[in-house]
Structure formats: C-alpha cells, structure tokens
Amino acid sequence: MKLYNGGKIITGLVIFLGIFLAPLAYNAGKAAYIQPKLKMPENEKECVESKEFMRTKHMQLLDQWRDWALRDGQRMYVNSKGKVFEMSLQKTCMKCHTNKAEFCDKCHNDASVTPYCWDCHVQPEGLKK
C-alpha cells in the first residue's frame, strides 16, 4: 500500500491530535472536579423532590411549575410522597434556600450557566442599588 503525501498527512494528524488532546495534558495530575459545597437549609431536610431529581431536573420542574401556575391556574404541587407545596419560586423555593449566592450561584458558576431568573424574580437576600 502506498500513502500519497504521507508525510504531510501524518504531520497534520499529529498536530491535530496534539491540539485536540492538549486540555487533557493540561489538566493531567490535577484534582478531579468536585461538586461545590452548598449551603443547605437548616430547618428543612427534604426538598420538593429527591436530591438527585432536584440536582438534575430542577429547571424542567420550574418550567412545568410556571406553566401549571400561570396557564392552568393550578398552584399546588403534590410531590411523589404526597406532600403539598405551592408552585412558586419566591414563595416556596426561596423560603428555604435563603441565599442565592451560597446556593444557586455556586453550581451555576461552576457549570458556566447564567439563567435569567433574577432579572425579574426577587432574590431572597433582597435587592440593593
């Protein structure tokens, strides 16, 4: 078998792989990503749903809450254990999670996402000029 322009192709592949794998080399030996330590509510042990569900699916849950409360006018949520909550970010979530900086922002910053909840919703600490 003959590889036409073999030298150029192989050099190109080596350069490509070098750049492609550079982040791995750069991070080699460093500690793995650790989930940030969140400030958990003191008076409440259980959230609306399980911890795992809330961690991965709270955005979808909030989306559904909005549509149920606004569009369907049904404002109470019965969770999988039968406990009832009002579907409201400010009246329910923020009553326990009283610190946006110590709770929401920690994961959102690590995941590099900037949800625009707080453009309108009032954060639990209140607003300052």
């Binding site: 569900f53 699916k57 606004l70 404002r75 949520y77 019965v78 969770n79 400010q90 639990p124």
Partner: protein, 257 residues
C-alpha cells in the same frame, strides 16, 4: 448471516427505531416526577370575573391614588417620571375614559376622575395579536400575561383600545423602592409589556384584588355569570356604562355613573 444490502438496511432501520424509542422514553421520564397538581383550597373561582366601580365614591385623583398605590405596591410597579411611566391603575377624565365628549355636561361629571385599568375584555385584541401567546385568556375571563414569553414587540399596546398596557423602556428596578418590594411577587425586566392582572395571584389564595380591598366598598368584584353574585346585584341596582362598547371587545369593568 449473509452480508447483504437487505440485512444491512434491516439492521440500520432497527437501530434507528431503537434510538427513537430510547430518546422519547427519556423525554417522558422528565415529566414523571410522580406528582399531581391542584388548586389551593381557598381559591376563588368564577366563570367570568368582572368589576364594578362606583365612580361617585372614587371620583377624585386622591381616592384613585389610594387604589393605585395599593395595586402598585402589591405588584412592584415602578413610578417613573415622564412619559415612560408604568401604570396598572390610573385616573382620567370623562372624555378620555369614555370617548363621548359632551359640551354641556353637568359639573359633577365634568370634574369627576375615573379609575382606569385593564378591562379584561371577552374579545381581547391584545390576546389576538400577541405572536408568542405571552398574553392569553384564562377560562375565568382574566386576560393574563406570562412575562417569560414576552418579546417586547408591543403589538398588544397597539391593539389595546384602552391604553391599559405599559412598556418597560428601562430597567424598572431603577425606579422601585427596593427596600419596600413585595417579596412574594416578581418585578419585570426591561423590554417587556405589563398590565393589570386582576390579581390572579391573590384570587388563587382566596383574597380579593388589592384595589378592591383598598376601596372600602367602592369597587365590587365577582362572578358575572352568577345571577346571585355581588357584581350582578350592584349592576341590577345602578346605571352603569363600559368603556368604548362600540368596539365590541366586551370589557369586564363596569362604571356606575
């Protein structure tokens, strides 16, 4: 098995179908938090919410300012000086309110001020023109807004014949007293339209609208479809008019003259 084209296509088809089923299952699992939704037990329900305003009792700028203050405090509505102000409830004279200029009107009516707000029309033009369904009609007659969806196109402002809608030309929080915010209700952001919502968030928990509560009986709120309701009783006993009835939008706010 023979490596024929037929076998290859069969295998590829089955794989594609399997992937479809798997991803659909994943999407369904998201909504499956094993939960149910319902009303608050105290919820106030109606087939058609309506309001009757006794303009003999609230007919001055001062009395209307009390209503507006209660409403604007409950909903975090800013007070912006100039033309870009946001208003959910405001005062205007007879001609502006009812579009029926009359050059020999009695003095009492000529000087009276009328509280104006969103009429929650049966045939609401704002609902029809909204391209994103951010403004929508609830089954109980309330014209409500989902600010998450509003793209600020302002078609609804052009459609509304009553001037009931305000646009946030600037960040409303700059003009709010941040220490006195109602922390149970959101603010809005720059670039969305807003208006009176007949206090859906209060009705959901069995409370009357904020302006009705502050009016000391001058405003009556209730179910228009129920002949025994308070609004129907007041409508039977008084002469009332609505704003711009010729347009056919069927407003849900009645004025006792």
């Amino acid at each position: 098995m023979n490596h024929t084209r037929r076998n290859f296509l069969k295998f590829a088809g089955l794989t594609a179908a399997g992937l479809c089923v798997a991803s659909a299952g994943g999407a369904l699992a998201v909504s499956g938090a094993g939960s149910a939704i319902r009303d608050d037990e105290k919820v106030l329900k109606a087939k058609r919410w309506a309001m009757v305003i006794d303009t003999k009792k609230v007919g001055t700028k001062e009395t209307i300012a009390v209503l507006a203050k209660a409403c604007h405090a409950a909903h975090n509505v800013p007070d912006i000086p100039g033309k870009q102000n946001i208003k959910w409830l405001w005062a205007a004279g007879f001609e502006e309110a009812f579009d029926q200029p009359n050059n020999y009107m009695d003095e009492g009516l000529e000087k009276r001020e009328f509280p104006l707000l969103c009429n929650h029309c049966t045939n609401a033009p704002c609902v029809r023109v909204c391209p994103t369904q951010a403004t929508y009609k609830r089954a109980d007659g309330i014209v409500a807004m989902d600010y998450h969806r509003c793209i600020g196109c302002r078609y609804c402002m052009a459609g509304c014949p009553f001037g009931a809608r305000s646009f946030n030309f600037m960040e409303p929080r700059l003009h709010l007293d941040l220490a006195a915010l109602n922390k149970e209700f959101p603010t809005r952001m720059r670039g969305v339209v807003e208006k009176c919502n007949f206090c859906v968030e209060r009705l959901a928990h069995g409370k009357q609208p904020a302006c009705v509560e502050a009016s000391q009986g001058a405003l009556v709120f209730g179910d228009l479809s129920d002949p025994a309701s308070e609004v129907r009783k007041v409508l039977r006993e008084h002469y009332t008019i609505r704003r711009k009835p010729a347009l056919g939008t069927e407003p849900g706010v009645y004025y006792i003259i």
